[in-house]
C-alpha cells in the first residue's frame, strides 16, 4: 500500500575532489550546477527536475554514498512516517531545515543493509531549468554533455536485503516490481518502486554493508545513450560496460565511473509498474542475461566494484 512517498529526492555522494567531480557530473553528464554551501558541498540537478537540487557532492577521503532522500507528499505524511520508522525499530535522527540549502526538515534513518536514508516533505521549487512555467518550450538551450534529465534511482549493495526490502515495503509503502530468486527461492536482488517506474531504488545482496553500486540518471532516447557513449570515449572516461540493455527492467543503459570511482549510469526506457502487478522474476541462474541482456554474461566488475 502506498504511504505517500513520491520519488527519489536527492543523493549525497562522497568524492575525493569536488572540482574533478564537477567535471563529471556537470560538464560530462550535463547536470545543472545549482550552488555551493558553506561546507563546500556542490548541489546539482537534472534540467527537468522541479526541485532545487537532487545531487549533492561532498569531498571526503572515502568515496561512496552518504544517504539517499525521498520526498513525501506533505508534512503530515512526514510526521506519520517518522513515527512508524521509530516504531519499526530504526535509528531515527531529525536533521533541521536548512542543513541542506533549500531543503526542509529531514528524517534520517538507518537500514539492515547499512545504508542511510532520509524522508523530507519540503524543498525549494525552482522549476525546470531554463524553461518558462507557462508555455514551456520542449527543452532549454545551453545544456551540456549527456544532458541528463533527472536523478532516477540508485542500486545499493549490502547484507540482509530481505530486511531493507521489508522496511521499504511495510513502512514506506514501496512495491516490489522486480526480483532475482536463486534456486532455493532466496531473493538476491529486489527492485522497488514508489511510482510507475520499474525502480526507484534497487538492492543486491552482498556481505559488505552500505555500499553504492551506481547512481542513475534518465535520458529520453536510445540515441541519447549512444551519444553518451560517444562522449565517454571522447573524454577518455572510465567505462564499465555498455551501451547495452538490461533484462531486469529492460532499460537501455551505459555504466561508467566518476573520477573517484563511484559508478554512474545513464539509461532510457524501461518497464512500468502498477500496484496490481506481480513482481517480475528473473532466475539467479540467468543473472548474466538479467543484468546484461545482450552479452548474457556478467562482467566481474558488476559484482565486485563498489564504493
Amino acid at each position: 500500500m502506498r504511504k505517500g512517498v513520491m520519488r527519489p529526492g536527492h543523493i549525497q555522494i562522497r568524492v575525493l575532489d569536488v572540482e574533478e567531480a564537477l567535471k563529471h557530473y556537470r560538464d560530462l553528464m550535463g547536470l545543472i550546477e545549482v550552488e555551493r554551501d558553506s561546507q563546500g558541498r556542490a548541489y546539482l540537478k537534472g534540467w527537468t527536475e522541479v526541485d532545487k537540487f537532487s545531487v549533492v557532492l561532498r569531498q571526503a577521503d572515502e568515496p561512496g554514498m552518504d544517504f539517499v532522500g525521498y520526498k513525501v507528499l506533505d508534512n503530515q505524511t512526514l510526521e506519520k512516517l517518522h513515527g512508524e520508522l521509530v516504531e519499526y525499530g530504526c535509528n531515527v535522527e531529525e536533521i533541521p531545515a536548512g542543513e541542506l540549502n533549500g531543503c526542509g526538515r529531514r528524517i534520517r534513518f538507518d537500514s539492515p543493509t547499512g545504508h542511510m536514508f532520509e524522508l523530507f516533505a519540503e524543498k525549494e521549487q525552482t522549476g525546470k531549468w531554463g524553461l518558462s512555467k507557462v508555455n514551456p518550450e520542449a527543452w532549454p538551450r545551453g545544456l551540456t554533455g549527456m544532458k541528463a534529465t533527472r536523478f532516477d534511482h540508485c542500486l545499493l549493495y549490502g547484507p540482509n536485503i530481505a530486511g531493507t526490502l521489508d522496511l521499504f515495503q511495510k513502512v514506506l509503502g514501496f512495491e516490489l516490481a522486480e526480483q532475482v530468486l536463486d534456486p532455493e527461492g532466496t531473493r538476491i536482488a529486489g527492485f522497488l518502486t514508489a511510482s510507475m517506474k520499474a525502480h526507484d531504488v534497487a538492492f543486491i545482496e552482498c556481505p559488505e554493508p552500505g555500499k553504492l553500486h551506481h547512481a542513475s540518471f534518465f535520458l529520453d532516447t536510445w540515441e541519447d545513450v549512444l551519444r553518451a557513449a560517444d562522449l565517454i570515449s571522447m573524454e577518455d572516461v572510465s567505462l564499465d560496460i555498455g551501451p547495452t540493455r538490461h533484462g531486469l527492467t529492460h532499460g537501455k543503459t551505459i555504466y561508467f565511473f566518476d573520477p573517484s570511482g563511484n559508478r554512474s549510469e545513464v539509461f532510457c526506457g524501461g518497464d512500468y509498474h502498477y500496484p496490481d502487478h506481480e513482481p517480475v522474476t528473473w532466475k539467479a541462474e540467468d543473472l548474466g542475461k538479467a543484468i546484461f541482456y545482450h552479452d548474457r554474461v556478467l562482467n566481474e566488475r558488476f559484482l565486485t566494484v563498489l564504493t
Partner: protein
C-alpha cells in the same frame, strides 16, 4: 638511451613487466599495453580492486580511498595502481585486494553465462 620519462614496472609476483610514462598512472599504462597483471576496477581510487604494493622505486600518488589504503598501509608502500605515477623504474607486487566473497559469487555468475 632509455627515455627519461618512461619507466619499467616489474610485477614481481606475476613475473611480467610493462612500461609506464611519468604522466600516466600505472593501471592505465598497463591496460594500454593490453597487459593483464593488475586487476582493473573503477580506475578512480574508489573501489580498491587495483591495490598493489610498491617494493622498490619512487612514485607519486593522487588521493586514494582511505577505506582501502589506510595511512599506515600507505607508509608500507600499499597504493591503488589507478592513482600512482612512476618517478623511477618500479618493482611492484600485484593482487593485494581482498575480495570479500559475495553472497552470489562470481563463480556462479560465470556458470550462468551461456
Amino acid at each position: 638511451m632509455p627515455d627519461q620519462n618512461t619507466h619499467l614496472i616489474r610485477v614481481v609476483n606475476r613475473d611480467q613487466s610493462f612500461k609506464c610514462a611519468s604522466d600516466q598512472v600505472l593501471l592505465i599504462a598497463m591496460e594500454r599495453m593490453c597487459a593483464n597483471v593488475i586487476n582493473v576496477g573503477c580506475r578512480g581510487g574508489g573501489c580498491g580492486v587495483c591495490k598493489i604494493r610498491i617494493l622498490q622505486g619512487e612514485y607519486e600518488c593522487k588521493r586514494m580511498s582511505k577505506a582501502h589504503i589506510s595511512d599506515a598501509e600507505q607508509q608500507q608502500g600499499f597504493v591503488l595502481a589507478c592513482r600512482v605515477f612512476p618517478r623511477t623504474d618500479l618493482e611492484i607486487e600485484a593482487d593485494h585486494y581482498q575480495p570479500r566473497e559475495s553472497y552470489y559469487t562470481n563463480r556462479d555468475a560465470r556458470k550462468a553465462a551461456c
